[in-house]
């Protein structure tokens, strides 16, 4: 007899597919993004999740926020677990009827889990991969990840991170993902359109969502949406779509807001604004933004 089968019953609390009552922090960008993603994907969806905040705050046994089939295995294997799920569905002949989403935070995606996601992309699995990027290992207490921006203070980069973010978009494109897009939680309609667009295409897809984290970003919990908006409007987080390797859509900006406007709302960047060394780093940020403006032709006219 199996006395404790470690699977939770789905709450009937709410009509939404990602029900409230979970333990995410106030102002959590990731919980909002995950809810938007799932509601866009619909109930015929299986979610495979790497270890991280999202799995921890949404699946505390015996409760769960997921009203779709959900599996969390380990920190680094969603790429492979979802491949197994897809292979099983293919064998059963129902692969075309069910969406599979394999998702992770930035550390789980870009660092420890990248090998498995690389395998998934390379094999051309019909899976939407999503990185909820809050730019550090927040679940374990704000340690630097491969997606932590230059200069960021984390608990393992107390003097400021020395490296730029790894470019996950380019990495996914190099693997031949059929659809690659960035999204932001301050534009929920656009985010959900991208999820639906991705799921309408067969093959490996990648969606990179900036997910503000008041705890790690040292920002006011009421400002998460504002910070997400500023990330886009400063050119720090350009919004675009690639289909079959070609850039097909860019969210244009009328004008660029100063990078400082984005930085100053976040304690993790506070030191960049009031020291000489910090100002040099801000200059480097501005160069990166210039490159992005050019690369994606961000500005109208």
């Amino acid at each position: 007899m199996i006395e404790t089968n470690i699977s939770s019953n789905v709450s009937q609390y709410d009509k939404t597919l990602f029900v409230p009552g979970h333990t995410a922090c106030a102002g959590c960008g990731q919980s909002l993004a995950a809810k938007l993603v799932l509601e866009a994907a619909g109930k015929n969806t299986i979610v495979v999740n790497n270890t991280g905040c999202l799995e921890v705050f949404s699946t505390g046994y015996p409760n769960t926020s997921w009203k779709v089939p959900f599996i969390h295995s380990l920190f680094e294997n969603a790429g492979a677990v979802s491949t197994g799920v897809e292979s099983a569905l293919t064998h059963l002949g129902i692969n075309d009827k069910i969406n599979i989403i394999a998702q992770a935070g930035d550390g789980g995606f870009a660092d420890i889990g990248l090998q498995a996601f690389s395998g998934l992309w390379e094999r051309g699995q019909n899976i939407l991969t999503i990185c909820y990027d809050n730019e550090a290992y927040m679940n374990t207490g704000i340690q630097k990840s491969g997606l932590t921006p230059l200069g960021t203070i984390t608990t393992t980069s107390p003097s400021g991170n020395l490296k730029f973010k790894k470019d996950l978009v380019e990495i996914s494109l190099a693997h031949g993902c059929v659809y690659v897009a960035t999204a932001s939680v301050h534009l929920p309609v656009e985010l959900q359109r991208k999820v639906k667009k991705a799921l309408s295409m067969k093959g490996p897809k990648f969606l990179h969502i900036l997910s503000p984290c008041p705890l790690g970003w040292k920002s006011d919990t009421s400002l998460s949406i504002e910070i997400a908006r500023l990330a886009v409007e400063t050119g720090v987080w350009p919004l675009f779509e690639y289909e079959n390797g070609s850039l097909t859509n860019v969210r244009k900006l009328k004008k660029l807001v100063d990078v400082e406007e984005y930085l100053k709302l976040q304690g993790r960047f506070k030191h960049l604004l009031d020291t000489e060394d910090g100002k040099n780093i801000v200059e480097q940020w501005k160069k990166i933004v210039e490159q992005k403006v050019k690369k994606y032709n961000l500005l109208e006219n």
Binding site: I2, T4, N5, I46, Y61, F70, T83, G84, T90, H91
Partner: protein
């Protein structure tokens, strides 16, 4: 009709008869021939399964984990470093109660890198909640694979099973192998119907966060399954196999000439073939010697072992692995079994020998020598060449 086949090929063809839906594997010597043959069978449309080439053994185990959670029969195989890279996932598979069946082609663990046989790889994950079976020869490796699916997928068990075969000796050796009729296998290993799965019509959360209030009970449940259901069903499945396939399958242990034996060897795997020959030679010289071969290593059949060894005066355990800083692992566990199950009575002297590490050949003469020298030792290495030790000590 018997076919003269390489062990890996024979195992692959047996697995194909059990009709797994998803197979994932990563290359590692000496395991690769098994999955190569499975890939060939799929390519030749003799097996309808999805073969997934993954990027590591970690992903191979994760892939079959995902497929098993989606409700289909799965298979993988690996060796040595590959098994250790899988270790984290193996604990996860067992904890999620997924009936994954695998073969571990036992090989030494690095460093120094060594592709040859011993059993160090599998004993390092013995605590994971996996049912572990050891084959002596290729026929038994095939027979145990058929039983493995039936045991793992039993609704009252739902735990992974790993069939262990000695690297090269059984994976690359050739033997005449008897294949059962497909309909017999179909009847014995019926279609897998998952009691729980990733199903959009009945959504469940697999692998949730489990705090101190619940985690302990998950382990308790696994232990109780091992102690009760698995202990019951392993013998039942073996007996059922014997009855249906007309070939003896032993279940927990095989007793070889132990009835009047005063000295009994204990070991597992292919080395038992050599020990049986040594026993025969010693019997011809009038010595009362026997062998108890451990087939089911987890759950460890402590009581069965103690009962089968209790009348001997001396037990010689031959290990192909060691817990460095302690003893050979089977030696430690046999000793523990006697302390726990002998009601405080005296029990036979137990000596421990570590042998065959990294593919070192173990000869009949060495085994006969163990008997003749009759030492009381805990960790005696067989065949150490002092000239080869070098400057490490």
């Amino acid at each position: 009709m018997k076919q003269f086949l390489e062990g890996a090929v024979a195992i692959a063809r047996t697995v194909a008869m059990c009709k797994p839906a998803v197979i994932a594997a990563y290359p590692i010597t000496p395991q690769t021939h098994i999955v190569e043959e499975l890939a060939n069978l799929i390519a030749a449309k003799k097996l309808n399964a999805e073969f997934v080439n993954v990027e590591s053994e970690h992903s191979a185990a994760s892939c079959v984990l995902g497929a098993s959670a989606a409700g289909v029969r799965v298979y993988s195989s690996t060796s040595s470093q590959g098994l250790l890279l899988m270790a984290e996932v193996l604990f996860n598979i067992a904890g999620m109660r997924l009936p994954v069946v695998m073969c571990c082609v036992n090989r030494a663990v690095s460093a120094p890198i060594n592709i040859w046989n011993d059993q160090q790889d599998i004993v390092t994950v013995r605590d994971a909640g996996i049912i572990l079976l050891f084959a002596e020869d290729i026929q038994e490796a095939c027979d145990l694979h058929i039983q493995a699916f039936k045991i793992a997928e039993d609704k009252d068990i739902m735990l992974p099973v790993i069939v262990n075969i000695d690297g090269f000796i059984l994976s690359h050796g050739f033997e005449p192998v008897e294949f059962p009729a497909q309909d017999l296998v179909d009847k014995f290993v019926s279609n897998y119907e998952a009691p729980y799965k990733l199903d959009v019509d009945n959504p469940m959360t697999f692998g949730p966060l489990s705090g101190p209030e619940y985690y302990l009970e998950t382990r308790y449940a696994m232990q109780k399954t091992m102690e009760n259901e698995v202990m019951k069903k392993i013998q039942a499945v073996a007996d059922d196999f014997t009855k249906n396939f007309g070939r003896k399958s032993f279940g927990f242990i095989e007793k070889y000439k132990t009835d009047d034996a005063e000295t009994i060897f204990v070991s597992m795997g292919s080395i038992c073939g050599t020990i049986k020959e040594s026993v025969d030679d010693l019997r011809n010289q009038g010595e009362k010697v026997g062998l108890v071969r451990v087939i089911t290593y987890r759950p460890f059949p402590s009581k069965i072992l103690v009962n089968s060894l209790n009348n001997a005066k001396k037990i010689c355990v031959i290990d192909k692995s060691i817990s460095l800083g302690l003893n050979g692992i089977l030696f430690t566990e046999i000793s523990a079994a006697f302390y726990s199950n002998n009601n405080g009575k005296n029990f036979p002297k137990i000596s421990g020998y570590v042998s065959g590490l990294g593919g070192r050949d173990v000869s009949k003469e060495e085994i006969i020598d163990i008997f003749k020298q009759n030492k009381d030792v805990e960790t005696e290495f067989l065949g150490v060449n002092k000239e080869n030790i070098g400057s490490y000590i």
